[in-house]
């Protein structure tokens, strides 16, 4: 529990640090970079799946952050603001290397017969997500499967379901309509469900 007194000391301290950072204080800059580079790099790697590009995205993001620090509105959370900047820098690199081009996903989507009835294989076994995740390497396997989705769908699924950005934010970042983001998210989820079926059906990793 932090009392009101503690709270004000913390925010006064944070404000002082921010001030030093804005003034370009070297020690404070280094402390700030060490504090945040880890999660920023992890985020950039999740999005780009390429170590060198992730490094570039983080460097560009820091440059952007330092440049705009004076305009940062302290009422919003610093980390949230920084998170958006890293995502945008990663997207910029993806665009530059043409990784966001349109790719089909149709073969992974559900199928229906001529009267609109779903054609689904029967589940002999259905493992709950908890059971699946208990296996070591489950997370790595899931990431591997997510990474096989076409890039333009993978990125929407990542930003919405893993990075937990809103439909509105993703629409703005990708320059798509919100309706389009929703359609893509649904297709990406449906395709991933297809890819995850063996795991949910109890197949060992």
């Amino acid at each position: 529990m932090s009392g009101p007194g503690e709270q004000s000391i913390t925010s006064a301290g944070a404000a002082g640090e921010l001030e030093a950072l804005r003034n370009g204080d070297r020690a404070e800059t280094e402390r700030f970079v060490r504090q945040h580079a880890g999660w920023m790099l992890a985020l950039a790697r999740r999005m780009l799946r390429n170590g060198a590009q992730a490094d570039d995205a983080v460097q560009n993001a820091f440059a952007n952050i330092f440049k705009n620090l004076s305009r940062f509105d302290q009422r919003s959370a610093l980390k949230t603001w920084m998170h958006r900047i890293v995502v945008n820098e990663a997207l910029m690199l993806m665009r530059k290397t043409h990784r966001l081009r349109e790719e089909p996903i149709d073969e992974l989507l559900p199928v229906f017969d001529e009267s609109g009835c779903r054609i689904e294989a029967e589940w002999a076994v259905f493992q709950t997500p908890e059971a699946v995740l208990q296996q070591s390497q489950a997370s790595a396997k899931i990431t591997e499967l997510i990474n096989t989705l076409p890039e333009n769908y993978r990125i929407v699924l990542m930003l919405r379901d893993i990075e937990e950005l809103s439909t509105e934010e993703v629409a703005e970042m990708l320059d798509l309509s919100q309706a389009n983001v929703k359609v893509r998210l649904h297709r990406a989820r449906a395709a991933l469900k297809k890819l995850l079926e063996p795991l949910m059906g109890g197949q060992a990793l």
């Binding site: 370009g24 070297r26 800059t29 280094e30 970079v33 060490r34 580079a37 880890g38 999660w39 790099l41 992890a42 985020l43 790697r45 999740r46 490094d55 983080v58 460097q59 820091f62 440059a63 330092f66 559900p110 229906f112 017969d113 009267s115 609109g116 009835c117 779903r118 054609i119 689904e120 029967e122 589940w123 259905f126 709950t128 997500p129 699946v132 995740l133 489950a138 997370s139 790595a140 396997k141 899931i142 990431t143 997510i146 699924l157 990542m158 379901d161 893993i162 929703k182 998210l185 649904h186 989820r189 449906a190 991933l192 469900k193 995850l196 079926e197 795991l199 949910m200």
Partner: protein, 101 residues
């Protein structure tokens, strides 16, 4: 329903889904995202849930769809390969130096 193959069930469903207030699985599919976001107007929500009540394929599909969202969320966030870890020292130096310049 016992003894009927999935194909026979589909034929029965195909007729049933033409009844008032019924939708096909294909239409149901288009409502899933809005349903899970609780974005459906009451009438559409009723129609969606009515289909779900009578269609085993869609029940199973929705269960797996939901489980898959949870798996991607938890698995994607937990993957150790992308956990915040050691940051290369030269990256830190590069960022700090770039600011000084």
């Amino acid at each position: 329903m016992m003894g009927l193959s999935r194909k026979q069930m589909r034929r029965i469903h195909g007729i049933m889904f033409k009844l008032p207030l019924m939708i096909t699985c294909e239409v149901f599919e288009d409502f899933i995202l809005a349903y899970l976001d609780d974005d459906l107007p009451p009438k559409q929500k009723f129609v969606f849930e009515l289909h779900l009540k009578v269609c085993r394929e869609c029940q199973e599909y929705l269960r797996a769809y939901r489980a898959s969202i949870e798996l991607s969320k938890k698995g994607g966030q937990a993957d150790a390969a992308f956990a915040p870890g050691d940051v290369p020292e030269d990256l830190i130096t590069a960022v700090v130096e770039a600011r000084k310049a």
